[in-house]
Point group: C2
Chain length 453, copies 2
């Protein structure tokens, strides 16, 4: 199929047949997870957690093969909405008066509205095959919870979602959407778990965090024999599943006849970032050795730009294996920014190792600057970015303006990981001038980092 205007379409047959495992191509070892410390958790919980993962997912996260075949039924599900579109944002280029070419891959056309369903579906598939009847998870902004709820239904599994309270209250309709898809939605911290009750004792108005929501989900799942905890980002197998995003974008950039100079994505725990960048990392050696990758985070949760590279837990209560990662400490409570999906304290181990090895750059933006970029983009291109995705837009704009100052071309590709149709309340706040910025002080970050295991 040929390119049409600024659209670079693919056929259903072009949906990838394999996920790409970047571990096969990294010039260093990614540090292995370490068991949790006995002082932080009972030995029993520590032993219990790892085997919860179905063997196929465990193998996917540790394998050395370059490609993992996508199971037929999962690929068929992908094909319900994939390939997703890749556009050249010519109207944005014009609005910015830049010589740069700006491309974006749009995952907002998925049924859940974001990239998250790319891993929710295979996870539901593998868990269902291993006899699990209920999936339990934590969600921040609700993108992941929505995706998992939708993925469970085809396999006849129940779905229980602990949703970070401040996000739940900012975006009540995310809860409605999950319930319409058959999920049970619980505000976190909740009174259903010891972790939740402790958090509420400490602060009855606790806004919650993804760390606490995940800790609650882990505790809750452990009490139900046919239930398993599942996670929407960070883990190696999750990053692997998201590479469908970058593999398609590679083909589409080929149709566009260009190879990027920089690939940009918002950085929560890293699955969206990994999804779009890893396949380009593989191809950069032959196509553009100077290709840069930029992970964009909120100044309110600056794990890459201001965190430390250390072993830390992925959940609040410290029952998960310790991972070597860029982190602000697993008890870090980010301010209530609207990009709830980026309020996570740590960066995925693989992305962290790449950052430590200078294969990846990072940048941080304030909330108002991010929404300003989101508005500019929406007006130019007619698509409202999710607040998370607007972080990538903010940096893409920055790169495009730099190209203008230098009077040189630049090919920019970024991931528009989701639409912002459930975030219009946040945009309304921005348009009416009521949005404020906040970021942690050095003292707050130091205090949080001191609690590392």
């Amino acid at each position: 199929m040929s390119a049409t205007g600024d659209v670079f379409p693919l056929d259903k047959d072009d949906v990838p047949t394999h996920w790409y495992n970047v571990l096969a191509d990294l010039p260093f070892e990614v540090p292995a997870p370490q068991p949790p410390l006995a002082r932080d958790t009972g030995a029993q919980e520590a032993r219990a957690l790892r085997p919860q993962l179905p063997l196929s997912l465990y193998r996917q996260g540790t394998g050395s093969g370059r490609y993992v075949e996508i199971p037929g039924p999962v690929r068929t599900e992908y094909q319900r909405w994939r390939p997703t579109p890749l556009y050249r944002a010519t109207r944005l280029e014009k609005a910015l008066d830049t010589p740069a070419h700006i491309y974006f891959k749009f995952e907002g056309t998925s049924p859940s509205g974001s990239h998250k369903i790319n891993t929710a579906l295979p996870q539901a598939y593998y868990y269902s095959r291993s006899g699990v009847a209920e999936m339990v998870t934590g969600t921040g902004a609700g993108q992941w919870g929505t995706a998992l709820a939708m993925a469970c239904h085809p396999y006849g599994m129940e779905c229980t979602v602990f949703m970070v309270r401040c996000s739940y209250e900012q975006k009540p309709y995310r809860g409605t959407l999950m319930r319409l898809n058959g999920a049970r939605v619980i505000k976190s911290p909740s009174t259903l778990t010891e972790v939740g009750r402790a958090a509420l004792r400490e602060n009855p108005d606790a806004p919650g965090s993804l760390g606490i929501a995940n800790a609650e989900a882990i505790e809750y799942a452990a009490t139900r024999p046919a239930a398993r905890f599942s996670i929407g980002s960070g883990e190696n197998h999750v990053l692997l599943h998201q590479t469908v995003l970058g593999e398609e974008a590679l083909l589409q950039m080929r149709r566009a006849g260009e190879f990027p100079d920089v690939v940009i994505a918002a950085m929560g725990a890293g699955s969206n970032f990994a999804g779009i960048t890893f396949p380009f990392y593989r191809e950069a050696r032959t196509h553009n050795p100077d290709l840069r990758f930029v992970a964009v985070e909120p100044e309110a949760c600056p794990k890459m730009t201001r965190g430390t590279y250390a072993l830390d837990y992925t959940d609040y209560s410290g029952v998960t294996p310790r991972m070597k990662m860029y982190t602000l400490g697993h008890k870090f409570a980010a301010y209530h920014i609207h990009a709830g999906g980026l309020r996570y304290h740590g960066a995925a181990p693989i992305v962290s190792a790449m950052y430590d090895n200078k294969l990846v750059e990072a940048a941080a933006y304030t909330q108002t600057r991010v929404f300003e970029a989101g508005r500019t983009f929406a007006k130019a291109e007619g698509i409202v970015p999710a607040p998370e995705s607007a972080h990538a837009v903010a940096h893409a704009v920055e790169e495009a303006l730099q190209a203008r100052r230098q009077r040189r071309g630049r090919v920019i590709l970024f991931s528009m990981s989701g639409h912002g149709l459930l975030d219009l309340g946040a945009y309304e706040q921005f348009l009416s001038g009521e949005m404020v910025d906040s970021e942690p002080s050095d003292e707050e970050i130091q205090a949080s980092i001191r609690s590392l295991p």
Copy 2:
């Protein structure tokens, strides 16, 4: 491209090159519009209105040619998101335990979230070529206003939208979305026009109606030399533009290897209904002479099932030409149902004539039954229907259950004209059991119809 599972994909090249003009194939004349009566309006306004339409749109609405070529730049815009997907709803079939095959065409993947942009784009194109600098319109639920705002931007035109107040308040984020796309949004009735001021004098809390919003838009546009009023449904040229929907669905049903026994769509003024049904009407003679078409309306606004076939105005204040249509009277004020797009008092002249000639059937459903169908569909298929589109779902479910009772196969196709992501507040009301039904009494309808011109 071959079918994959329950998806029937098309190429970008399959986006129609022509709109289909059903007037060429109808076995009767559709009654021509009549000028407004002098007792209802000054002669000046009556003369002023018709020439506002660019000549190409006027010709499209009155021509006898079977096909109208889509201008290249409009087709290129269509190709940014078209073809839209057609799915077989196998999970819904399973949930209903029906032998029927249920297909749906999904227009919710468009940038504006509904089918409305299919006519907004060509209208903006033709108006811009005729030197217009500002488009003015009325919108009910906001789907049309959003589409027009998005369509104006590429042509550098301003966009002013009068939005029915009760919809504006039920769905504030629709206003945000229009503003993000550069439009000016005004609650109707407003104090900006004589029509609005009169409505507010009568009732300061007037919920508004699409008739009033359009009347305000007409009055406002008349005071600005470079502004024109544009309409999102009902007119012949609007119905023509929407046939891209049905032309694609025809191709996709061919890929699926089936031809429908019944085609179903929600009925506001009729553009979505016309869009999906007209191309099937053309093909029915050779493929299935028994093919039925069902227009589905809310019991709260039953213009087809309880209205009368008469000459009426399309706007509240009676300055537009009188059209022969099924109507509840142009002063009819429907209850505040969530399907704001279906609160319009009349049915498009072409659809009305087809209904009068028994080529089309009609059905009406209560609001709670419509939302119940929407929930069933969302849980099964992972897509939340707009409340308007859920009317089509409700009737599709009814047809599928009838097929089950008769133990006979039936091929059902319906238009899922838009997604319900901005209507989750209404679904929340339904889920929490707070939704109520209301419908006009015979006396109310008779009183309203007595005011016909």
